[in-house]
Amino acid sequence: MTDSIRFRLNGRPVTLDADGTRTLLWVLRTDLELTGTKYGCGMGLCGACTVLLDGRAVRSCQTDLAAVGGHEVTTIEGLAQGGRLHALQQAFHDHGGYQCGYCTPGMILGAQSLLSEHPRPSRQQIIDGMEGHLCRCAAHQRIVAAIEAVAGNGGGHD
């Protein structure tokens, strides 16, 4: 069954003639060749496939294409503006908040969602907000430092 699905992707309008029950992750990676969004577990347990839906983090492996109709989707490719890294991208780079880099797009978008909800998060809020993201290289300490740096002044207090 083919539907015509319109949404905004990284600031641009997109119309896809596709089955609305398809999974956003695979549509992004295959049809749209936006491979920055990664497959990690297929069950919404690792966070590697995280994208922003109207600014809030969702697991694209658990999101139907139909669900994004009429909404704004942001992938890691859409975060940098005008050739300049987003503050979180810069901070992850500056603080070494990555090693293999595979979980990094999902981490950064998860952090962006967290910061839009809590602009000055406490350390505990950062931990709680990022809990659903796995990093097997275990760069956690520097990821927290990068998020705190963007939040300003080392974050708020508990």
Partner: protein, 707 residues
């Protein structure tokens, strides 16, 4: 000398165009790696370095970048010796057509063994360029200096010529067969510093490509029909419903049945329509019974260390200790599952693969498909974590066979369930140690038997007059399978075997210290004269603020110490934990002091230490693969739990200076003591010693109830 005309990579050399190419041929720089010998790798060339006519420098390395930061540290080494800035460097890695053969990226060998080749190539290139400059400028070499890719007359810096100008019009291929004189730490301007990683911009923007991100025209996505358990035998299969799905092709090969589709979802749907029946062998043992099996089915022992008489040593002991330690199967679970894209065109197979071993993949695919090695090219994009698990590459062979059969490029990207099922796990293991101390708290005897883990990390760091270490089988002992030693594949897992062996040895030390009424740090210091071990222990103690006390102190809060040596480095860990009434352990703080010789990139080294410590908390506290026979019960992160953000302790790293020693390993050492240091801290907090990893709340609680 190398006969360039016979080199299979002559096309690559031609493609480089003009400039200066330095090849390093130093047999002494090759790791004497058993696997390398077994696989018959060519060992002629260690490294290529090319200086192009525009002054750009390209380093070609058969190593791969999987997060350990070697793309940056190798570039630093090249830039330092060559006398160029880091941003003049490009690093090409893991492409078998353009990079020198390499035995694999593992064993913390890149910096130790490949680094010297890079430095030698770069130092030689600098000499060649300086000689050219001496001719061009008409002054002796001794009067020239090099800075940022410019050679100038030291006394008159305006008389200068750039590397690019010198390389122009040249077609020099120079082979080096003796190690050049390298710069010393005092002279460094690029090494010993912490520039931002070269792979950072791509990784934070999503531009970095991994194997599953490669797209080729007409490519198909495969899903392979899998057995329910290892050892299961296919009895019947009906693929007709799958083949009827629009766009789907079924490919049936010997031992490999797959559905191919233009997108991964259609392939997944078609796979669900395949009806397959299997004979599943009765399970021989499970994750509880495996430990008895490992001891009963063990092969003969190899004695890897022996001195004195361990029996006589028992007689000289004031107290003896007889303890048995257990370590479960642990998954690698990199966040990137194994993936490969294979393209068969014009009699040539090209494979983009997530692998730690591109040349091994080339050899394996060539052998299995009956091709020459030159007919196979393996390209390694960024690898999304390996930890040893991507030294096994079943997925590349699957993709290659399917691509050849289909005549179209085929991607095989494992699901998380396949990744767990086909992982080559860190082997379950048993370590039995009988040891003794005399009345003054000095070791008298040490008799250690290792089943399943191999010998790495079992070496005695302490002075013991009577000692014996017996190892029954290495990490990969025995063919896997229902009748095998292990029910499924096992293999190297970050510092293979050392996590198990250090857990056992350092727990044993702690048990003895407690019984002898000696502070655990003091007990270690008293029993070793190894200066590097003493230094890392004291450095850790300084940063941690260690106050002498005899364990256990109880009260639900404890601290522990553990130490070891791995990949040429020495490490000492100290940890602080709390244990709640439910037996839940929380690691609050870890200090790791490491002596890794000369440090190429201090921040990169610290990242590896922090990662090792945090990753180690997984096997220390929670990671344990459950299985029944060949049936792997944990297949995703709902039941298998790597460390998450809420586990994060404060991690402090201390790089103990040792600039007179060449750079040593950095990727593995910091993980080897994490199980031990946590177990020792839990003992201090509770008075209960848990002898089986991981330290789950149930085991910790059961221990507390026994005390």
């Amino acid at each position: 000398m190398i006969d360039l005309a016979r080199m299979p990579r002559r096309d690559f050399l031609k493609a480089l165009g003009g400039g200066i190419l330095v090849l390093v041929q130093l047999p002494s720089l090759h790791a004497t790696d058993l696997w390398e010998e077994q696989r018959g790798y060519p060992t002629d060339i260690n490294a290529y370095l090319h200086i192009a006519e525009d002054g750009r420098v390209t380093l070609f390395s058969g190593k791969i970048e999987m997060g350990q930061g070697v793309m940056t540290s190798l570039a630093q080494m090249g830039a330092e010796e060559l006398g160029v800035s880091l941003d003049a460097m490009t690093v090409v890695m893991g492409d078998t057509d353009s990079c020198p053969p390499d035995a694999g990226t593992w064993g913390s060998l890149t910096t130790r063994m490949f680094g010297p080749a890079v430095r030698t190539a770069a130092a030689q290139a600098r000499l060649i360029l300086t000689d050219l400059a001496a001719q061009r400028l008409g002054v002796p070499r001794a009067q020239l200096s090099v800075e940022n890719g410019v050679v100038f007359v030291t006394a008159r810096p305006q008389r200068r010529v750039t590397y690019g100008e010198l390389a122009r019009g040249q077609r020099i291929t120079h082979t080096v067969d003796e190690q050049a004189v390298l710069r010393t730490a005092r002279e460094f301007s690029v090494m010993g510093r912490s520039p931002k990683r070269l792979d950072g911009p791509e990784k934070v923007t999503g531009a970095a490509k991994y194997a599953a991100d490669i797209r080729r025209p007409g490519m198909l996505y495969a899903r392979v029909v899998r057995p329910p358990a290892h050892g299961a035998r296919l009895v019947s299969i009906d693929t007709s419903a799958a083949a009827a799905v629009t766009g789907v092709r079924v490919v049936s090969l010997e031992g490999l049945v797959a559905v191919l589709a233009p997108d991964p979802e259609t392939a997944g749907r078609a796979l669900g329509l395949v009806r397959a029946q299997y004979d599943v062998p009765a399970p021989a043992f499970d994750d509880e019974g495996v430990y008895d099996h490992l001891v009963q089915a063990a092969p003969d022992a190899r004695i890897v260390e022996a001195d004195g008489d361990v029996e006589a040593g028992r007689g000289q002991s004031a107290r003896t200790f007889d303890l048995t330690y257990r370590h479960p199967y642990v998954a690698h679970s990199p966040i990137e599952p194994h993936a490969a894209l294979a393209e068969w065109q014009g009699g040539r197979m090209t494979i983009w693969a997530s692998t730690q071993n591109p040349f091994g993949v080339r050899a394996q695919v060539a052998r299995e498909l009956g091709l020459s090695a030159e007919a196979v090219r393996v390209v390694t994009p960024f690898v999304g974590g390996g930890f040893g698990g991507k030294s096994a590459n079943q997925q590349t062979l699957e993709a290659a066979r399917l691509a050849q059969a289909a005549g179209r490029p085929v991607q095989v990207a494992w699901t998380r369930e396949e990744e767990f099922f086909f992982d080559t796990f860190d082997p379950a293991a048993v370590v039995h140690i009988v040891s003794g101390v005399d009345a003054s708290g000095r070791l008298t005897t040490w008799d250690c038997q290792v089943y399943g883990a191999g010998e790495r990390g079992s070496q005695l760091l302490y002075e013991v007059p009577n000692r014996r270490v017996r190892v029954y089988g290495g990490v990969g002992y025995g063919a896997p399978g229902a009748q095998g030693y292990h029910p499924f594949g096992v293999g190297p897992w970050r510092a293979p075997g050392a996590n198990t062996n250090r857990f056992a040895a350092e727990s044993q030390m702690d048990a003895m210290a407690s019984a002898a009424g000696v502070d655990p740090l003091e007990f270690r210091l008293r029993n070793t004269r190894d200066p590097r071990l003493l230094r890392v222990l004291r450095a850790a103690a300084d940063t941690f603020g260690w106050q002498p006390a005899v364990a256990p102190r109880g009260g639900g809060r404890g601290r522990g110490v553990a130490c070891g040596t791995d990949a040429g480095a020495y490490v000492a860990h100290m940890a602080e934990v709390t244990v709640d009434a439910a037996g839940q352990v929380r690691v609050e703080r870890v200090v790791c002091a490491q002596d890794m010789g000369l440090v190429v990139n201090p921040d990169g080294a610290r990242m590896q230490i922090e990662g090792g410590v945090m990753m180690g908390l997984g096997y220390a506290l929670a990671e344990e693969l459950r299985f029944r026979g060949g049936d792997v019960l944990d297949r995703n992160f709902d039941t298998y739990h790597p460390p998450r953000f809420s586990w994060l302790p404060r991690i402090e790293t201390v790089l103990v200076p040792n600039d007179d020693l060449a750079p040593q390993g950095g990727g593995e050492p910091a993980i080897i003591c994490v199980g031990a240091v946590v177990a020792n801290a839990v003992f201090d907090a509770t008075g209960s010693r848990v002898l089986r990893l991981p330290l789950t709340p149930e085991r910790v609680l059961a221990g507390i109830r026994r005390t």
